[in-house]
Amino acid sequence: MSNAPKIARHTIAVLVDNEAGVLARVIGLFSGRGYNIESLTVAEVDHAARTSRITIVTSGTPDVIEQIEAQLGRLVPIHRVVNWTTAKPGIEREMALIKVVGTGEKRVEALRLADAFRARVIDTTHTSFIFEITGAPDKIDAFVDLMRPLGLADVSRTGVAAISRGPEAM
C-alpha cells in the first residue's frame, strides 16, 4: 500500500440558503457517503440574503475530496462550494475557551504560557482560569497540550472559520 493515495486535510466552505434542514442535508451527505468531518461550523452570514456559511474541515484522498465538493455542489439549496486548501489560498481561525484548575506554581505557569499564546483570561477564581484563545487549529492544539499537566479541566472549541486571502470574496 506504499503508493496508496495520500490522505490530506481540507477546509471547505459552503454558502447555503438559510432554510430548514439545510445543515442536516450537508451532515447527512457526509455520514451517508462515509466522509469524515473533523470540524464543522455554521452561522448566518447575511440576514437580508438569508444565507449561511458552513465551514467543514474534512480529510480524504484527492479523489474523495473531489467527490465531496461535487456532492455538495449537487445539493439544491447551495450557492457555492469553495475548497480553501486547493482552489484558493485561505486563512483559518478557531476560537477556544479553556478552563484550567490549580493553585501555586502550576497556576503561575499556566498564566505565563497563556500570555505567550496571547490567550486572554476571561474568568478567574482562586483556583481556576478560563482562557480565550484564537488562532489556527494547531496553535490551539499546542496550547491545550501545554495546559494538560497544569490542570486542564474543560475545553470548548468553535471549529474552524475560514476566508480567502487577498481582495477576492468567496
Binding site: G21, A70, V76, P77
Partner: protein, 600 residues
C-alpha cells in the same frame, strides 16, 4: 397577463380575496398548471382535504393503487414511458414510509417524481401524533430535494419549485410534505411562471473545448466503443435520434447499460448487446480492449465495470454526464463533459461535420473483424428443450409474438430481468422500464399499471418472476379497476432464481431459503382478482398461449412454468474483469473467489 392568474381572478366565488385558495385547492391548481393529467395515490387522514379537492375536480385522473409503494412504482413507469414527471399523493406516517422504497428506486434510476405526502397538523409535529413520522427526515437521503410546507402562502411556490427540481438537471424524485392544517388554510396562489428558484441552476450546456477534445479522440480512435446509458433516455427522444446519427456516421460499435436499452436499436448493425455482469461476450470484450471509450449518460456502475482496477485498461475515456458528481467517481476519465446529453450530442455532431472529421477506417475495419470473432461466441445461446420451457426460449417467443405491436416492457428484478434485457430487442427509447440501481423486486407490475395508464392502447407486458411479482401482486386489483390490460408474464421457476444462482456458484449449492415451497395458483389468483389467468407448461403450447394473452383486452396473469434450474449467462463473476466472463454451468463455478464473495 399570465393565463393562470386570469383564471383565478375570474372565479366569482373568490370575489373578495381574488387569489386566495385553500391549501388543498392550491395543490390541485398547481398540478394542473404543471400539466399533470394523472396522479397515483392512496388516501388517508392527513390528505383528506386534498382528496376532497380532487373530488371536486374533474380534470385530474387519480389512480387508486393498493399500496403506496405500488403508487410510486406506477408513477415511475408513467414517467419513464412518457418523459413527464410522475405524481404521487399519499398520506402521512405509513403512507410516507411505504413510499420510501419507490422514492429511493426513482433516485437511483433518475426518474422525475413529485411525491406529495400529508402530514399531521403543524401544531402536532414533533408530538408523536397518530400517523406522524418525520417524512422530510426519512426522505432526505432518498430524494433530490424535499420540503415541509408550514404556510399555505408558500405552497404554490414550493410545488412549482418541486416540479422544476424533479425535472431539470439530472431528474429525480422530490417530496413535498403538507401538514393537514396547511391544506385547510387559505393562501395566495402564484403561477409557475412567477417562480424563480434562488439557487437551482443546473448546468446543461456543454463546454465546447471538451466537445472538440472528445471528437478529436474519436477521430483518432483505433478501437472505439460507445457505452451509453439511461441519461440518453432521460434527455428525450431527440437525444436517441442524435445518438443514432453519431453512431452511424462514425461506424463505431455501441453497447448500453441496462437503463439505456432502446436508445440505439437492438436491430441496428452496430449493436453489441448490453454490457456488464450479464452483458454479451462481444460488448464486454470490446469494453475491455477499446482504446477510446465514449461514455454517454452512464455512470460506471459496479454492475457495468466489474473489477475496477482492470476496467478498460488501455482506454482514453470520454464521459458525458449531466451530474458533475458522476465524473471521476468510480473511474478517472480523460475528457469529462458535464451537460445535457441532447445538447452535447448536438454539438458533437455539429463539430464532427463542420470540422470534416474522418474515422481511422483501416483500424476500424480491423476492430470490427475482432468484434466479429467475439460475436461468433454466441454468448446468449442456451440449450433448448423439447419437454420443458427454457426461460430464454419463453422470452424469445414473447418477443417474436409482440412484433408489430407498440410494446412496452417492464420487469421485476432477478434472472428474468436479465434474460429480458439480453434477449428482448428494444428498438425505441422509453419502452423499457426496469429497476436498475436499487434492484427493487415488485417494481414491474405497478410500473406496468403506470405505463398502461399513459398508453391505453399499447401492449404493456411485465416480464416477471414468481417471487418478485408477489411483492406487489395486490396492484393487479388496480389494473382490474381501471381496465388496464397489462400482461403479467411470470417466468415461474419456483426459486428466487438469481439468489439460487449465486448460492450455486458461491455457497456450495446450499439453497438457503430461495425455494418457495408454497406458491399461489396464479391462474386461480387471476380469477380471484377478476382478470384472466393463463398457464403454459410445455414448449409446444407456449406460442398459442402467448397469442391468447396478447389477444385478450383484459389484464392477464400468465404462469409460464420454466426450467427451475436454468442459470443466467454470460456472467462476469463479482470481482472479475470484463474479459473473465463465464458462459455456462460447465465453467468453474467458484470463479468468483474470496474477494468477489463479499461483493453483492
Amino acid at each position: 397577463m399570465d393565463r393562470n392568474a386570469t383564471a383565478v381572478m375570474s372565479r366569482p366565488a373568490q370575489a373578495n380575496s381574488a387569489d386566495e385558495l385553500s391549501g388543498a385547492e392550491i395543490v390541485i391548481r398547481a398540478l394542473k398548471d404543471q400539466g399533470v393529467r394523472h396522479i397515483f395515490g392512496y388516501p388517508g387522514g392527513a390528505v383528506l382535504p386534498i382528496y376532497d379537492a380532487l373530488f371536486a375536480d374533474n380534470e385530474i385522473i387519480h389512480v387508486l393503487c393498493r399500496h403506496e409503494q405500488g403508487a410510486v412504482h406506477a408513477a415511475e413507469g408513467y414517467a419513464r414511458s412518457t418523459g413527464k414527471p410522475g405524481v404521487v399523493l399519499v398520506t402521512s406516517g405509513p403512507g410516507a414510509t411505504n413510499a420510501v422504497t419507490g422514492i429511493t428506486d426513482a433516485l437511483m434510476d433518475s426518474i422525475p417524481l413529485v411525491v406529495l405526502t400529508g402530514q399531521v397538523p403543524t401544531h402536532l409535529i414533533g408530538n408523536d401524533a397518530f400517523q406522524e413520522c418525520d417524512t422530510v427526515g426519512i426522505t432526505r437521503p432518498c430524494t433530490k430535494h424535499n420540503w415541509l410546507v408550514k404556510d399555505a402562502n408558500d405552497l404554490a411556490r414550493t410545488l412549482h419549485e418541486a416540479f422544476q427540481i424533479a425535472t431539470t438537471g439530472r431528474p429525480g424524485p422530490v417530496v413535498v410534505d403538507i401538514p393537514k392544517d396547511v391544506q385547510f388554510n387559505k393562501g395566495t396562489y402564484v403561477a409557475p411562471g412567477s417562480v424563480h428558484h434562488r439557487t437551482w441552476r443546473p448546468k446543461t450546456d456543454p463546454d465546447l473545448a471538451q466537445i472538440v477534445q472528445a471528437i478529436d479522440l474519436m477521430a483518432h480512435a483505433k478501437r472505439p466503443v460507445f457505452y451509453t446509458g439511461g441519461g440518453i433516455i432521460n434527455a428525450g427522444p431527440e437525444a436517441s435520434k442524435m445518438l443514432r446519427e453519431l453512431v452511424e456516421i462514425t461506424g463505431f460499435p455501441i453497447t448500453s447499460t441496462l437503463m439505456g436499452l432502446g436508445a440505439y436499436p437492438a436491430s441496428g448493425p452496430q449493436w453489441l448487446g448490453m454490457l456488464g455482469m450479464h452483458g454479451t461476450w462481444e460488448a464486454n470484450h470490446a469494453m475491455h480492449d477499446c482504446d477510446v471509450m465514449i461514455c454517454l449518460g452512464a455512470r460506471f456502475d459496479d454492475r457495468v465495470t466489474g473489477r475496477i482496477d482492470v476496467f478498460a485498461p488501455d482506454a482514453k475515456k470520454i464521459h458525458l454526464d449531466i451530474d458533475a458528481s458522476q465524473i471521476n467517481k468510480n473511474v478517472r476519465v480523460d475528457v469529462p463533459i458535464v451537460a445535457d446529453a441532447a445538447k452535447a450530442l448536438k454539438e458533437m455532431l455539429h463539430f464532427w461535420k463542420t470540422q470534416r472529421r474522418k474515422v481511422d477506417e483501416p483500424a476500424l475495419k480491423e476492430w470490427w473483424t475482432q468484434i466479429a470473432q467475439w460475436r461468433k461466441k454466441d454468448s446468449l445461446k442456451f440449450v433448448t428443450s423439447e419437454t420443458i420451457i427454457k426461460p430464454q426460449f419463453a422470452i424469445d417467443r414473447l418477443f417474436a409474438a409482440t412484433r408489430g405491436h407498440d410494446t412496452y416492457i417492464t420487469t421485476e428484478v432477478g434472472q428474468h430481468q436479465m434474460w429480458a434485457a439480453q434477449r428482448f430487442g428494444f428498438d425505441d427509447p422509453n419502452h423499457w422500464m426496469t429497476s436498475g440501481g436499487l434492484g427493487t423486486m415488485g417494481y414491474g407490475l405497478p410500473a406496468a399499471v403506470g405505463v398502461q395508464m399513459a398508453h391505453p392502447d399499447a401492449l404493456v407486458i411485465d416480464i416477471a418472476g414468481e417471487a418478485s411479482v408477489q411483492m406487489t401482486m395486490q396492484e393487479m386489483s388496480t389494473a382490474v379497476q381501471y381496465k388496464l390490460p397489462v400482461k403479467i408474464f411470470i417466468l415461474n421457476n419456483q426459486y428466487m432464481g438469481m439468489v439460487r444462482q449465486w448460492q450455486q456458484l458461491l455457497h456450495g449449492g446450499r439453497y438457503s431459503h430461495s425455494y418457495s415451497e408454497a406458491l399461489p395458483d396464479f391462474v386461480k389468483l387471476a380469477d380471484a382478482f377478476g382478470c384472466v389467468g393463463l398457464r403454459a407448461e410445455n414448449p409446444g403450447e407456449l406460442d398459442d398461449k402467448i397469442a391468447e394473452m396478447i389477444a385478450v383486452k383484459r389484464p392477464v396473469l400468465f404462469d409460464c412454468r420454466v426450467d427451475p434450474k436454468e442459470n443466467c449467462y454470460p456472467m462476469i463473476p463479482s470481482g472479475r474483469a470484463h474479459n473473465e466472463m463465464i458462459l455456462s454451468d460447465a465453467e468453474d463455478g467458484s470463479a468468483m473467489g474470496e474477494a468477489g464473495k463479499i461483493l453483492v
